[in-house]
Structures are given as structure tokens and as C-alpha cells.
């Protein structure tokens, strides 16, 4: 018999999808039985009370969580999100229910031993409820009490060589795609760069001094598996600036049906014979592909590296060899202002360690600008809108480039300053009137 009746939550379980309600009930049951004899450091009935208070919130149509708190581990201004419920008597198991963000490993590679250790620690000192992974990428530990925080932090750092991630007004845990570890599309080593910048900017990660949150995300290619272009203040997207490598024999093998398109990803249904014209060439957004007899031609100057043709025919087409990253800035979800995609600020830059150019000419000058000019809770993308792309170019010293233009009339205006123009703004009116009548 459940501790709290939850008729509304129970109804959620009837849907066709996996249900968090079922998961929580299963956990509640497991903690009640405690077959492994864990010495729970927080109430054993935490999952029951979590279900109970959620049911109450549904009933009232209001949340029963208070907002924020001073909890944290000593010296860190992020990584712990304090949560307290406002019905601590009835739901004592979740009186404190703090979240901890655990900095996920690059590419989210784990050993099962590592995962087991984390889960054992969390069963022992927390609710046992995890979220793999939060939208920041972190491993999320959901629900523990204030006295457990330092204990957990000590064990994480000393036993498992594992740090907390970011929260609040600081650099959030940088996150990356699986990259060169498994993916042949990766134009740079996303994990190396993610790790390097995470180490370099520890102070920014743990000690909040920004106007608001700030995210780095690393995608090895424009397929954007971590969706950096839509949700990072700095998106590092792998690219190349020479030509797509074509294996004409393999192109013919796709046409002849010997190799399944999209690496067989759509083979669950019969889509008919592969049609290179309809499925690749006509879908190229820049219309830069054509068949010339039996030869596939690509006008690489026009290609915007959308990845479509490579995704369809990975064995025939490969990314170029002159590789680096494009940097985009200012993507964000709607909080103060509407949602925004990233704006291209660096079309191509080398992504080789130690990434000095990226740090010194892109990241740090833009941070300095945003830290000084950004209003409280203003994301970089909003500052870019408020003060203009030109201001960003000025603080970074980047040269204006047509590729920064999102579309006509959104951001094409580049104004010259007087000192950039020969002769300045002064003119001799009499000289001028010789050629121009009033």
C-alpha cells in the first residue's frame, strides 16, 4: 500500500510511453525492501513522498517547491541546486530535496564500474533518483539533504576523481558529441577541446561572476548531435574548408543498390530504389551537386556543409581534410527574450590544442564585454541583439564577413567609424558642389 494515494499520477502510467511514475514507484518499493541492506542516509521513503507532493501539486495546480537556496559545497557557487518543499511535515522525506550536477565525462563514455559506483553512492547518500543526462549534459542526482552535500562531494572528488558541474550564473558544464571516438564525421577532437576548456575555465565554472548562465557546446560536425547551434552561448561546430572527398565507385554502388543509403538507417520499410537525383542532388540546399554522366560533381565553393549528402552516402562522400571549427555565439532558450539560434562569428578557426587563438581572440574578449555590459540575467545573445553584432566585432577585433549575415535585414549593417575612413567625415562643400547641384 502506497504511503500517499496518487490517483492522478496513476493515470499518467496508462499512456503508451515509459513512465517516470512507474519508475518512482519501483524505486519506492526497492527502498522499502532494501534487499542490499543499504544504510540510507536520507529518508528511505523519499520516493513515496516525492510522488505524494507531486500529486498534491496536481491537486492544487501549484508547485510545492520553494525556489533556490544557499546550499552548496564550500567554495563552490554552483553544482548544487537547493530545493526545499513547503510541506515538510507531511512530506518529510523531501523536506530537503537538493539537486547535484555531476560533470559528465567527455562524450558520455563510462565504464559500468564507474556508473555502479556513482549509483551506489547516490543510493547511500541520496534518493537514488538520477537523470541521465540533464540538458546541460550533466549526470543529475535528484534529491538529497543539506548534511549529505559535503560528504558526497568529498567521495566524488577523492574516490572517483569526479567534479561537480555548473549551475547558476557561471559557466555551465561544457558538453560535447561523441566525436572522433566513434564518428567519422568529426572534424576535430570534441572531447579533447571540451576537456581542455573545462580545465582552463574552472574558476568560471565554480565561482559565479557572470550576469547569467553561459554554455559551451562542442559538435564535431554540422549534424550537431548536441544541438550546440540552438542552445549554447558558444557553439563550436566542426567544419572543413577544402573539398568533400568523393569515391566515384562507391557513388555507383549506391546508385546500383549495392550499398544501402543512410547506412541502412531507413531499411525498416521499402522506400523503393535509391534515387540519387531525388534523394541527394535535389535536396542539396545550395544546389551545388550534379551528375555529369557517371560522375558526381560538387561545386564545393557553394557547399555550406549541411552534411545531407554525406549522411546519405557515407561510404562515397567524406568530409574534407582541411579541418577546424566554426564558432557561433548567442543561442538560447526563451527566458527574457525569445529563443535564438547562434550567430556565426568565426567562420573557420583551428581547433588544435592548446586552442590559444580561440581562448584569447574569441572567448575571453567576449566574456569581458558581457561581464561589463551585460545586464543582470541577460544572456550573451540578448546583449548581441541590444548592442549589435558590430559591437561584438569591435570587442573581439574580428573582421566583418558576409558569412556573418544571417539573412538580409536581420544584421547586415556595418557602419564605418570616422577614423576608419580616409579624410574622415569632413568635406569641402565647394569642391562637392562642383559636381553636385543643389
Amino acid at each position: 500500500m502506497a504511503k500517499h494515494p496518487t490517483p492522478m499520477l496513476d493515470q499518467l502510467e496508462s499512456g503508451p510511453w515509459p513512465s517516470f511514475v512507474s519508475d518512482l514507484k519501483q524505486l519506492a518499493e526497492a527502498r522499502a525492501q532494501n534487499k542490499e541492506g543499504v544504510e540510507f542516509q536520507i529518508p528511505a521513503d523519499v520516493a513515496e513522498d516525492l510522488l505524494g507532493i507531486l500529486e498534491l501539486s496536481y491537486k492544487h495546480g501549484r508547485t510545492h517547491w520553494k525556489h533556490g537556496g544557499i546550499v552548496g559545497v564550500f567554495g563552490y557557487g554552483g553544482g548544487v541546486i537547493g530545493r526545499y518543499c513547503d510541506q515538510p511535515e507531511e512530506f518529510s522525506g523531501v523536506a530537503h530535496f537538493h539537486t547535484m550536477r555531476i560533470n559528465q565525462p567527455g562524450g558520455k563514455f563510462y565504464t559500468s564500474e564507474y556508473l555502479r559506483n556513482l549509483c551506489d553512492l547516490w543510493d547511500f547518500r541520496g534518493s537514488g533518483i538520477t537523470n541521465m543526462h540533464g540538458s546541460t549534459g550533466d549526470i543529475i542526482f535528484l534529491g538529497t539533504t543539506t548534511p549529505q552535500l559535503e560528504e558526497i562531494f568529498f567521495e566524488l572528488t577523492h574516490k572517483y576523481n569526479q567534479d561537480l558541474g555548473g549551475s547558476g550564473s557561471n559557466l555551465r558544464t561544457p558538453s560535447d558529441c561523441i566525436g572522433q571516438a566513434r564518428c567519422e564525421y568529426a572534424c576535430y577532437d570534441t572531447q579533447a577541446m571540451c576537456y581542455d576548456l573545462t580545465q582552463e575555465y574552472q574558476d568560471e565554472l565554480h565561482r559565479p561572476a557572470f550576469p547569467y548562465k553561459f554554455k559551451f557546446k562542442f559538435d564535431g560536425c554540422p549534424n550537431c548531435c548536441v544541438a550546440s547551434i540552438a542552445r549554447a552561448d558558444f557553439s563550436f561546430i566542426g567544419t572543413w574548408r577544402d573539398n568533400i572527398k568523393i569515391d566515384q565507385k562507391a557513388v555507383q554502388a549506391y546508385i546500383g543498390g549495392e550499398i544501402p543509403p543512410n547506412a541502412g538507417a531507413h531499411s525498416g520499410r521499402d522506400w523503393g530504389k535509391f534515387d540519387i537525383q531525388a534523394e541527394v542532388i535535389d535536396l542539396c540546399p545550395t544546389e551545388c551537386m550534379a551528375m555529369d554522366g557517371k560522375t558526381l560533381k560538387i561545386n564545393d565553393k557553394e557547399c555550406n556543409r549541411c552534411m545531407h549528402c554525406i549522411n546519405v552516402m557515407p561510404r562515397a562522400l567524406r568530409i574534407g581534410d582541411d579541418r577546424g571549427v566554426s564558432v557561433l555565439a548567442g543561442a538560447k532558450a526563451p527566458i527574457l527574450d525569445g529563443a535564438q539560434m547562434g550567430t556565426l562569428i568565426v567562420p573557420f578557426i583551428s581547433a588544435e590544442p592548446p586552442y590559444t587563438e580561440i581562448k584569447e581572440t574569441v572567448i575571453e574578449p567576449i566574456w569581458d564585454w558581457w561581464m561589463e555590459e551585460g545586464k543582470n540575467r541577460e544572456r550573451l545573445g540578448e546583449l548581441m541583439k541590444r548592442q549589435g553584432l558590430q559591437k561584438l566585432l569591435e570587442v573581439t577585433g574580428l573582421n566583418p564577413d558576409p558569412r556573418m549575415v544571417q539573412e538580409p535585414r536581420s544584421n547586415p549593417y556595418i557602419f564605418w567609424n570616422e577614423d576608419e575612413v580616409e579624410g574622415g567625415w569632413e568635406r569641402d562643400i565647394n569642391e562637392f558642389r562642383k559636381d553636385h547641384r543643389r
Partner: protein, 79 residues
């Protein structure tokens, strides 16, 4: 500005505002210190280490306050 001098200035300013406000944005503190954010951060980090200041976080936004002040501390009996 010397650290001790900066600390005194910040504590005095925050104490003065205590009646109406207990939590401050980083930029508010930098303004009081009349320092660039990066310089202000050095002072503020040290004041957190010395437990003169403490962090408060909503989860998405971070604020600073004098140690042990503010509603949360009272609610938590950590005064």
C-alpha cells in the same frame, strides 16, 4: 584597492542595505567596489573563502549575500 579596504567597503555597503535587501547580483557588488568584473571577482572569491559572503542560487541565477543573512538562512535555522 587593497583587499582589506575593499572588504570593509563592501561589508559596510551591504549592511546599510540589509533592511531592504539581503541578496545581490555580482554586478551590484562590482559597482560598490567600483572595480572591473575580473578584479571584483578576486575580492569576492576571497570573501566567500573567508565566509564573509555566501552564495545563494535559484538554480539558474546566482546571488551573493552577507554570511547568514537572508530568508533562506532563517528558514534553515542556520543563523
Amino acid at each position: 584597492m587593497e583587499y582589506e579596504e575593499a572588504k570593509e567597503k563592501l561589508v559596510a555597503a551591504l549592511q546599510k542595505k540589509q533592511k531592504t535587501k539581503s541578496k545581490f547580483y555580482f554586478n551590484d557588488l562590482a559597482k560598490i567596489l567600483e572595480a572591473k568584473p575580473r578584479d571584483a571577482k578576486k575580492v569576492i572569491n576571497r570573501m566567500v573563502q573567508e565566509q564573509v559572503l555566501e552564495y545563494w542560487s535559484s538554480g539558474s541565477t546566482s546571488l551573493y549575500g552577507l554570511h547568514g543573512t537572508g530568508k533562506q538562512a532563517a528558514a534553515e535555522h542556520e543563523d
